[in-house]
Every structure is written in C-alpha cells, then in structure tokens.
C-alpha cells in the first residue's frame, strides 16, 4: 500500500505561537484518515500546509511520493479540498462557481459533467441560483462538488460537518463513505468530534497543541482493552530511548512523557522488560481509554496538563 501523504517533522511558528510542533504522520492509499484535535490544536494549520496555503517553518510534506514544495501544481491537480466553511462566489450561480473552479483545476468542462456533479450533491435543481440565496448546508454541498469536480485522488476535508444539521451530517458521512468505498478515494478529514471520526475513518491521529498524541487504526485505538499506560522512571528520556530499541516502540506515544497506548494485559510484560533493561521504575499507571483521553483533551483543557507536560 503506497503512502499518499507523508508528513515528516512538520512545524509552524506564528510569531510567539507554535501552531504545529514536530508533527509526523502518514496517510495510505484508500485510507479515510481522521485528523482529530480540539479547536486550536493545529488541525487547520496542518491542512493549510498540506494545501500550500501556509508555508511550514520546518519539516517536509510529500504527497503522491513528491515533495509539495517542488511539485506544488502537479500535486494540487490531484487534490480536492474543503477548507473550513466552503465559501464560493456569492454573486455567481452554483453552476458558474463549479465551472470556474473546475477550469482552474485545469479541466475541460462540459455542461453535462457539471450538472452530473451538482446532481450528486443534490443541487441540480438550483444550478442557476446565486449562492447568496443558499443555506449553509447547500453551500457545504456546493463546496464538496467544487472539491470533487476534477476527480481528485486525494480529498482533504477540514471540519466538513460544521454548521450542518443532523441530516446534513448523515449525508456528508454517507458521501465520504461512498467516496472511499465505491470510488477508491483517499480522504483526510479533520474534526474535533471523535464520535464523528470513528464512524467513517479507518485510521486516525489525535493532535494537541500542535503535537501528535496518538496515531493508529481506529479499531485498535478505540478498543476498550487499550489504555494509555503512563510510566514514571528516574530518567524517562533514557527509558524511552531503550524502549525504542524494542518491540514496544510501536506502542510508544510521540510526546515528552513516557506513555504507551496498549492492552492492559501487556503491562506485566512491559514492567518485566523495563526491569530487565535496568530501568528504575517509580510508578506505572493506567490513565484513560482513548475516548476518555480524547475527551480530556477536548473538554477539560486543565485536566490534560499533567499529560501534556
């Protein structure tokens, strides 16, 4: 399975704020990849960097195995995106908007193709109406049509269900599943709702304050048997380095703490391995399931501080 997006040590500094901090992740072909984090976690900044709207301060982005910084146009030709609220030209019709953005993507457009696209998002009967007369849900659907009109291989959706009613959210979810399952598209979708991501994504990442907290398959991460195991030693950094040389590396979380996302039943084996590595253990505690952990990030900012620091 080839990687569609490969992000390595990506960082973005805005004056005094480090919006994204040493972020690495990979999205594979055919993935519906959930990008989770509370508001201000750095999701939108990361997505903007993926679309070359914002220049990274450090790190590298490869999309379709090519460097974004040197193959921008070539890459973006195969990418469709909805960034936050999908605004179009309000004084133009849905049809004109779609036609403009399709042509900008380098497509030769035909009326038939554009109408088919509008039909897919349920706007065919409003093709000639000006966008300023549209509801938020209709604008969102037009945004999706704009993102898909040039048949991209990768679709990036930044909080696509924001402002939608329950029916709109369900429709969006079905559309994403259809894009992935029936059309074989790779989708990266950001959200601040775990419940939303778990219904559609097969892999996901949680970021907090610009850093990766956890990454893995949704099935594994949401397995109730999995817990975040926090280990305290006399020298966490040294212990972490030792664990990186072992099979435990795949459970290690990429943060300053010594934490592993794993099945609780594996804890005794972890302890015996650490002892064998001559690590001075001070404490081992099971903190949260992923859902609780994510909730602690998204709803109780104060609560997460012991983990973040």
């Amino acid at each position: 399975m080839s990687s569609i997006i490969r992000v390595s040590h990506l960082s973005k500094q805005f004056k005094d704020t480090r919006a994204v901090d040493d972020l690495s992740f990979t999205v594979n072909e055919g993935d519906v990849y959930g990008f989770l984090g509370q508001n201000g976690a750095g999701k939108s900044t990361t997505i903007r960097m993926l679309l070359s709207l914002v220049a990274p301060s450090e790190g590298e982005i490869n999309i379709f195995e090519k460097k974004l910084s040197t193959h921008r146009s070539e890459i973006l030709r195969q990418v469709g995106a909805v960034i936050e609220k999908p605004d179009c030209y309000k004084y133009l019709s849905a049809y004109d908007n779609l036609s403009i953005f399709a042509r900008m993507s380098g497509m030769k457009v035909s009326r038939q193709l554009l109408m088919k696209q509008l039909q897919m998002v349920g706007l065919a009967d409003r093709a000639g109406s000006k966008v300023k007369t549209f509801s938020q849900g209709m604008k969102q659907r037009l945004g999706i049509a704009v993102a898909l009109v040039h048949d991209p291989a990768l679709i990036i959706l930044d909080e696509p269900t924001n402002g939608l009613d329950p029916q709109g959210i369900a429709d969006m979810r079905n559309l994403i599943l259809k894009l992935s399952n029936e059309m074989g598209k790779t989708v990266l979708i950001s959200s601040h709702l775990l419940s939303e991501i778990e219904l559609i994504a097969n892999r996901m990442i949680i970021i907090h304050k610009g850093k990766k907290m956890v990454e893995g398959t949704v099935a594994d991460l949401l397995d109730p048997a999995h817990s975040l195991i926090q280990v305290e030693t006399d020298n966490n950094a040294a212990a972490k380095e030792k664990l990186k040389q072992t099979n435990w590396v795949s459970f290690l979380q990429n943060d300053k703490q010594l934490r592993l996302m794993m099945n609780k039943e594996e804890v005794p084996r972890l302890i015996s391995d650490l002892v064998a590595m001559e690590v001075q253990l001070l404490s081992v505690s099971s903190s949260h399931s992923l859902e609780n952990y994510f909730l602690s990030l998204t709803t109780l900012p104060g609560y997460v501080e012991p983990f973040a620091n």
């Binding site: 805005f14 903007r48 679309l51 070359s52 709207l53 914002v54 220049a55 921008r72 146009s73 070539e74 890459i75 973006l76 030709r77 990418v79 995106a81 960034i83 936050e84 609220k85 999908p86 605004d87 179009c88 030209y89 309000k90 004084y91 133009l92 004109d96 403009i100 953005f101 042509r103 900008m104 993507s105 380098g106 704009v146």
Partner: protein, 297 residues
C-alpha cells in the same frame, strides 16, 4: 494564463460594483454636456475675460466636441483613480473576505500567476473604463456639439496661454492622451492591488489608495523648491496629468502653432517611463509579498 484571465474577467463582469464606475462616468459626463449645452457661453465669457479685448472669438463655436472632451477629461481624470481602486483594491482582499482566496490558492495555479492575472484584469478594466470615457466624453460630445478647432487654456508659470489646435490635428492627440491616461491609471491599479494583499476586506485598500493619491497629489502641487527637486520627481501623481502634454502644441517664434507638433516630447516620454517603472515596482512587490504570505483568511 489566458484561461485564468477569462475567469477573472468573467468574475469582474458579474459584480454589480463594476458597473458603478461606468455609471458614475456616464452621469458626470452627461451633466457636463447638459450644462454646457444649456449655458456654455457664460463659461466661455469667464475663461476669455482677460483676453477678450485682444482676440475676437466666436464663442459658441469654441464650445465644440473636442473642447468639451478636454474640459471633461481635465475634471474626471482626477476622480477616476477612485473608480479604478474600487475594482483593483478588491482583487485579493475581496477574495480573502469572501473566503474564496484559500480555494484559489489550493488550485494548481501559482501565486505569481494569480497576481499577474489579477493585475491584467485590473488593467483591462482600466482600459475599458477609459474607452467608456472616450465614448461618452469625446464621441457623444462630438455628436452633441459638433467638431471644430480646439481652444486650450493653459497656465504656464504666472502667465495664461491660449492655444489653438486645428480640428484636423486633434484626434491623434486624444488617442495619445487616452493611451497615456491608461498607463497613469494602471499605476493606481497596481498600487491598489499591492495594498489589497495586506487586507482581508476591500474597504481598507480602497481608502488607503485614495489617501495615498490625495496626499501625493497635494505634495505634487506644493511649489517649494526643495520639494520640486527632491520629492516631486519620484511621485507618480506628478505625472498623472501628463496627458495634457499632447495638447500643448509647439509654436513658431512668431507664436504660430505648428500642426502635428508637441511642445515637449521628452517630458512626456520621461513621464511615461517613470509611470511604467512605478507599475513594474508595484507588481513585482505584489508578487514577492504574495508568494510569501500565509493564507489564514
């Protein structure tokens, strides 16, 4: 590039504010024409007061289509920069305000291309605006007032001059004057575009453009030697009315106008070069700044 330009022009053509400029020009021109048709003689009496004892003028004939166009241009070309700014200052900031800028940038077009296309579209809008001015102020004036020899009132230092250009020597001067005005107003378009990069709504850059034009125009009109020498040559506003140079006909030593001549070609050429330099600098600066800008709107 051509495809992008077509898209840009399509967008401009569909915006109601585009037509405000055309409507404003038409309204001002028609008011002028109506006023002169109704009472042009009073104006001529006033203008010729100082010389009426020296020369004999057929006053009504002096108010003809060519003369009307000159009067209108003299007034309008000072206000038109505001109308140009209305569209050009909206180029990037308007997209940011609507939320479409991030969509544009995430398309496979380079930022340099986008700026150049925006500039080209603003230039085409400026040309169309001047074409509309030419039609309303020259063609319609000729239809209403007819064609005849053209009188030009000119202040030169402390003295006033009246120049006479024969009617068969006028049209090419207007064509040249409109071409010059296009270059001059394109500087305004380039300035507005540059300012537009820094804003997220078009009001700021429109006001900033107008303020810059006003301040620079005032400085251009201050007659202090130190400013004349050190500041004015670098201000684009010093050259905005350079189109008038095409109507300053050269004369013989006896004061007889020389048909097809211009008093100071070099000054016009230099003015044009300085305006073009301003355009080049402003567009290059726009490209450099925009390429580095993080799109956060």
């Amino acid at each position: 590039m051509l495809n992008l330009l077509r898209i840009e022009l399509f967008k401009i053509s569909r915006r109601p504010r585009t037509y405000i400029a055309f409507a404003a020009i038409a309204a001002i021109v028609f008011i002028f024409q109506f006023a002169f048709k109704a009472d042009g003689e009073s104006y001529m009496n006033l203008m010729l007061q100082s010389v009426k004892d020296t020369f004999e003028f057929e006053k009504v004939r002096a108010i003809n289509g060519y003369f009307m166009c000159y009067i209108i241009l003299n007034t309008l070309l000072i206000q038109v920069p505001i109308l140009v700014a209305l569209i050009a200052a909206d180029s990037i900031s308007g997209e940011a305000n609507m939320g479409t800028l991030r969509l544009l940038i995430s398309k496979p077009i380079s930022r340099t291309q986008l700026i150049l296309v925006k500039f080209a579209a603003a230039t085409i809008f400026t040309i169309l605006l001047l074409l509309w001015m030419a039609i309303t102020s020259l063609v319609f004036s000729l239809l209403i007032f007819g064609a005849d020899d053209m009188l030009i009132f000119r202040s030169k230092g402390d003295e006033s001059q009246i120049l006479l250009i024969t009617k068969d020597d006028v049209i090419w001067r207007y064509l040249a004057a409109f071409a010059y005005a296009t270059v001059a107003l394109t500087v305004i378009a380039a300035l507005s575009l540059f300012l537009s990069i820094f804003a997220e709504n078009s009001i700021g850059p429109i006001i900033a453009t107008v303020c810059i034009v006003i301040v620079c125009t005032i400085i251009s009109n201050i007659n202090v030697p130190i400013i004349d020498k050190n500041v004015k040559p670098f201000l684009f506003t010093s050259y905005l009315v350079g189109w008038k140079g095409f109507f300053y006909i050269a004369t013989t030593d006896e004061g007889v106008p020389i048909k097809g001549s211009i008093e100071n070609w070099t000054a016009i050429r230099n003015s044009l070069l300085i305006l073009l330099l301003h355009i080049g600098i402003l567009v290059a600066a726009s490209v450099i700044v925009f390429r580095k800008k993080d799109i956060l709107s």
